[in-house]
Symmetry: C2
């Protein structure tokens, strides 16, 4: 049976297994350094649909189908789908899974959705409520820009701290048995708000939450950075990653070369004109579901702390003069 | 340990306990038939804040504090908060809990959020991952109207099938031990879309999902309507309730006088000018957290199937010509 240790970490007993993962991305992501790991790269940003929003649902659904295929399981083996996205009313996920005959739990964790879904699903599997689960998340540059910032047609200038919303969808099949890396620990995060008001600086809004969750995870488990092969954050981007490093140093922890960030890995920051890197629920979802799972398969890493980070940004509240809260959920994955 | 039975029902082993509940509402709800059960009725729709959105966060936070107080637990006893609301980016919940030093899981289930949070929390407690949890949801007439329909200042006419978004927040403290009714079974729902396109007819969008979840729950547990004291739906309203009754009859099940709907109970439909009744995450959240818990305390009911129902309505997708998917999650509560 699962057991809480320390302040906010849960040690899982049955250690749910990641059976498979799949990631589908857009053209820009397909031009980036991780291209060969993705299951599909769509050339058309509409993915054959009539709107960007429908396109996002389409790639999310396709990622789920691909992950299912790879897992060797059938749709009827799946007890539950846990998913979410950045669109208002999490509409990418709702519409992606409306024709799927499987119970569905909608999540909102902004860009932390992928690790939130893995955290909840692994606890549900550990507790016996669920046998096999789908964890999935998506984002789309075009649907996100017009919702959070401006219509693309405006050609708005970007600031140096801004991040590029990834067009991508990732899906993981998690199960009570099978072959693959295991989720052994979960550290759900608290909402942190350090007063950031710049909606073009998501990294700064999320870094304090990432720092808090990592600190708590290490303290709860009694581990140090040296015990972990890689600390993978969701999408802090370049600026947010530097901020995380600095915040950790203030807590006397040197991340050394252990820290990687999905937002800085998915694009070539020198050549792809993405400012501080990638963001969006789809960013960590596709990087984790493809490249990182491949590292486990190759044996390159054996213990990974995955912390997807979310800026709980509300354009309405920003217009009202509010600050941006952040959240970060961690799952420990072991070979 | 929890056990799945039939297609989509989970029978809980340790049967988490509802330690307390609290509900805070606005003036219109305070003028309704359930007034005496609410913990607080706010006269000012701003709840002392500067915006409707901030007011919603405020009442949600106050409901959490009140429920905590009644439970005899302290904030540090709580392992996790599960919450959500109707606002874009679920901002009522994020801002309500950003100063609370407790891990947080954000949910999006539209008006099904209250039973979604109870379903997940009870499975987490059953599995040992969580000891005590907060389940909470909110809505606010003024913040919802301007987001989903039109600014209030327009004075838009309402259609006969429309429902009135409840200004209210409900919170439940759920725990592994203590005194109170127990959650014994969970039936998470599937997303159903029967092609409803009228965003002023949420009841019709949700009724098929409610029917599907109830049917599956009965089939999985081998129970009949006669085994349950009350079937409580979230906020189908008057029209949606009639539709549910009809859909159930087509499946050869007569709901008889067992069915009640939070949306038709919270207002006096004859005198309060709310058309088909109440809606919004806060509707089922406050009715369940106050009036229904009181019925358990009085011994009036002993076995209740609570099915909060959500219309996964996206104004953007509606403008694009899409239909409205619905979802309904059920929890079985026993004295």
């Amino acid at each position: 049976m699962a057991k809480k240790i320390g302040q906010q970490t849960i040690v899982l007993d049955k250690q749910p297994i990641i059976l498979s993962g799949a990631g589908i991305v857009g053209k820009k992501e397909g031009d980036g350094p991780l291209a060969r790991f993705f299951d599909n790269i769509i050339d058309d940003e509409y993915a054959g649909e009539k709107t960007f929003e429908a396109a996002e649902s389409r790639i999310l659904r396709d990622a789920y189908i691909k992950a299912l295929e790879k897992s060797g399981k059938s749709a009827s083996d799946i007890s539950i789908i846990l998913s979410g996205d950045l669109l208002n009313q999490c509409t990418a996920a709702s519409y992606a899974f409306r024709d799927v005959d499987t119970p569905y739990l909608g999540l909102f964790g902004a860009c932390s959705t992928m690790s939130e879904s893995l955290a909840i699903a692994s606890m549900l599997i550990d507790g016996g409520s669920v046998e096999y689960a789908v964890c999935a998340a998506s984002s789309h540059f075009c649907s996100a820009e017009r919702q959070f910032r401006f219509p693309l047609e405006y050609g708005t200038q970007r600031t140096p701290t801004s991040q590029w919303t990834v067009t991508g969808a990732g899906a993981i099949i998690l199960g009570k048995d099978g072959q693959g890396p295991k989720i052994t620990c979960v550290t759900p995060g608290k909402i942190m708000d350090e007063g950031i008001m710049d909606s073009n600086n998501m990294g700064a809004a999320m870094a304090p939450a990432a720092c808090d969750t990592i600190m708590n995870h290490l303290q709860d488990t009694g581990r140090t950075i040296d015990d972990i092969d890689m600390i993978l954050t969701g999408d802090l981007g370049k600026f947010g990653s530097e901020m995380l490093k600095d915040l950790m140093l203030r807590n006397n922890i040197d991340l050394k070369n252990k820290h990687k960030d999905c937002g800085t890995m998915i694009y070539d920051l020198e050549t792809q004109d993405v400012d501080c890197g990638g963001s969006g629920c789809g960013c960590s979802a596709v990087v984790f579901s493809t490249y990182i799972l491949d590292m486990f398969m190759q044996g390159t890493i054996k213990r990974l702390l995955f912390i997807a980070t979310g800026a709980l940004l509300s354009p309405t509240r920003i217009q009202q003069g509010e600050t941006i809260p952040g959240i970060a959920h961690a799952v420990l994955i072991e070979a």
